[in-house]
Subunit: 391 residues, 2 copies
């Protein structure tokens, strides 16, 4: 074999093998604790079932068809995607019910969506009559039917119409096209998810639910029934399930629980576990014995998203009590002792160090595979098939 | 064709076609202004030639073999990579001289490096005798020769030994192995690159060069010649070229000039242009007429790195004087009028908006292709073949 063979990259960069000790995984790698992951899956499904609310997990968090199929096998109604192209690998993997929880811009995306609607039950959001017209044209050309949700703004000030009259106008626009089907409302408030204080988060979720309920009621008064009211995320889902307003929830991050979500106060009934880790290795200890001791990890900005803070160092049972990841360069991470500690606390050259990523969604988008681990051994490798599909 | 065909993703997500108007590129997409890019290439090569210093551009900025070959065609000696796996697509594309400007952790990486050294002239950095031993074993097993640089810490406090005695010990360790070749010193200080003030940056570069010169002199006194002294980045290269210390420079970002590098004061002779843009589209204008007007772009954290700040909005000739990108969510970007402006300044639904990314290296790492544009038309599509290769 020469490197010039087309398969050389694949051979030389082979993924970890089943049965390999997790401690020997080449780094950086995205590692999933399958036991914790499965407990997270079960807990959310049970909570949704108990509330009589449909669970439609968000695949933008994982971009992995194997995970979507695991969610559906446990009772999920289907999945959400955030982009049209993101949905393609899921359709190809056999997911047959996908909601694009977002507006889309342009004919190319509408055409792709309409094409997918021949193979799966597909829906999408609108907040402008021109989007409705574009979808109708694409569906007519493809000969497919597309479900349409009117998105309402429940306080985030991002996408979505502001009030019931605007929503009603869009419902009428949708109903003017035989190949579009009005399915209900989407009401999502991203900012609420990360309100740290439990009571404040509950109040914010209650405010959003009240705004949603008012628009549902106004539409009902105008003779428009909302078969589905969809929304909610991993931070608000406990309140959304109890609200009586949402018929469907869209949480994504609960399966992984990143460091940012971990900073929320969970005083309620739902407690998800960190299941996703970045396996890194110490690549330099040259500065370990200097006055400001540190070692360098082989994972930086190309191996993790830092928009929601730096990763936590994980000691196997919880956050490290001795060292912290204090800075991310492009391909380097700086590990230093916590205040009061010293260089003796730092791991040695070549040591594997596990990190809990600050923000799971954009971190997943950096990796081509997830290495599933159980009882200290590699169990499986799942492709992140929708990585990079942002159109 | 059904979506279940294995090639459907490729067909449905076909890249832009040559000759297509750039304004119709499906979004988000990474767009390269080829004229500006080629002026940047030429300017750096001319500056290096004039100084009699070897140019070895850093491929971690672009991860694209086509760009590496364009740099080499203009006179570059080879390229730098920051990870072993990153180098593989470059070797496969015909790049025959690659320096891994970094230490590496573990036998798997050393084995891959040694294997690559059968097909290309390969070098790597060390700052610990154990790294030398691992490289020697791998080279012996592969039957290859590996060039080795001793990295010295010139103030960043990251990788690299602190002084001449430590460097000398490593030179001796390298020379003990017939399959390793001591090639010289690497001296790089990442922090200097982003010092905004021109005079302060010049002083910081001078301090780093002085530390380097002192160690070169001490090694010479001990009878060790440093054939190559390599270092420098896009922010310091003007000073590094004039220093008389460096025989080789490693700039990467100069080809693109991201928004963060654009905030440096360039009072000297080198002026690079923004050539890299993210093409986005307005996907929602539902909030455009509210008291705090805004529109939503279809590009957020999965389409750009924000570690070094948010992207600039580009109006074709320079930064927009009317609107700003003020917040990045996972798949949404918020565009608002600049202070004093109003909603009338905002682009309409479906409009294409160009952004200058805040930080080019980790932004490139999110895309599978670069769309080259000339005179308003798509000219070519280059694969980002090393995207995600972080091991």
């Amino acid at each position: 074999m020469t490197l010039l063979d087309s398969d050389a990259t694949i051979l030389l960069l082979a993924p970890p093998a089943a049965g390999q000790p997790a401690a020997t995984i080449d780094t950086p790698a995205l590692v999933l604790d399958l036991d914790a992951f499965e407990r997270n899956l079960a807990q959310m499904q049970q909570a949704a079932d108990k509330a009589g609310v449909q669970l439609r997990p968000h695949a933008k968090a994982h971009k992995c068809p194997d995970i979507a199929l695991a969610q559906i096998a446990r009772g999920a109604a289907g999945i959400c995607c955030q982009k049209v192209s993101e949905a393609l690998p899921f359709v190809q993997a056999g997911v047959r019910d996908i909601h694009i929880s977002n507006e889309i811009a342009g004919q190319a995306k509408a055409a792709l969506l309409a094409r997918m609607a021949l193979d799966a039950r597909i829906s999408v959001c609108v907040d402008d009559a021109r989007q409705v017209a574009t979808l109708a044209t694409a569906a007519a050309q493809a000969g497919s039917h597309i479900g349409v949700f009117v998105e309402i703004d429940v306080g985030q000030g991002r996408c979505g119409v502001a009030d019931a009259p605007a929503a009603l106008r869009l419902v009428e626009a949708i109903r003017a096209h035989a190949q579009l089907e009005f399915r209900g409302l989407q009401a999502y408030h991203g900012g609420i998810q990360h309100v740290r204080d439990y009571a404040a988060r509950r109040q914010a979720a209650a405010d959003a639910a009240a705004r949603t309920a008012a628009i549902v009621a106004a539409l009902a008064e105008a003779g428009v029934a909302c078969a589905t009211v969809t929304g909610g995320g991993s931070g608000s889902v406990e309140f959304d399930l109890a609200s009586g307003v949402y018929t469907e929830i869209q949480p994504g991050s609960y399966i992984f629980m990143d460091a940012d979500y971990g900073r929320n106060d969970y005083s309620g009934t739902l407690r998800f576990e960190h299941s996703l880790f970045i396996a890194t290795a110490v690549m330099s200890v040259a500065a370990a014995t200097r006055p400001a001791p540190r070692v360098v990890l082989d994972a930086g900005l190309k191996s993790m998203a830092v928009d929601s803070g730096l990763p936590l160092v994980w000691d196997g049972d919880g956050p490290s009590r001795t060292v912290a990841y204090v800075a991310a360069n492009d391909e380097h991470g700086i590990l230093e002792p916590l205040p009061g500690g010293n260089g003796a606390d730092l791991p040695g050259l070549g040591a594997q160090v596990l990190l809990v990523p600050g923000h799971c969604d954009p971190t997943l988008n950096l990796y081509d595979e997830i290495v599933g681990v159980r009882k200290g051994l590699v169990s499986l490798v799942w492709p992140v098939a929708a990585r990079g599909l942002s159109r």
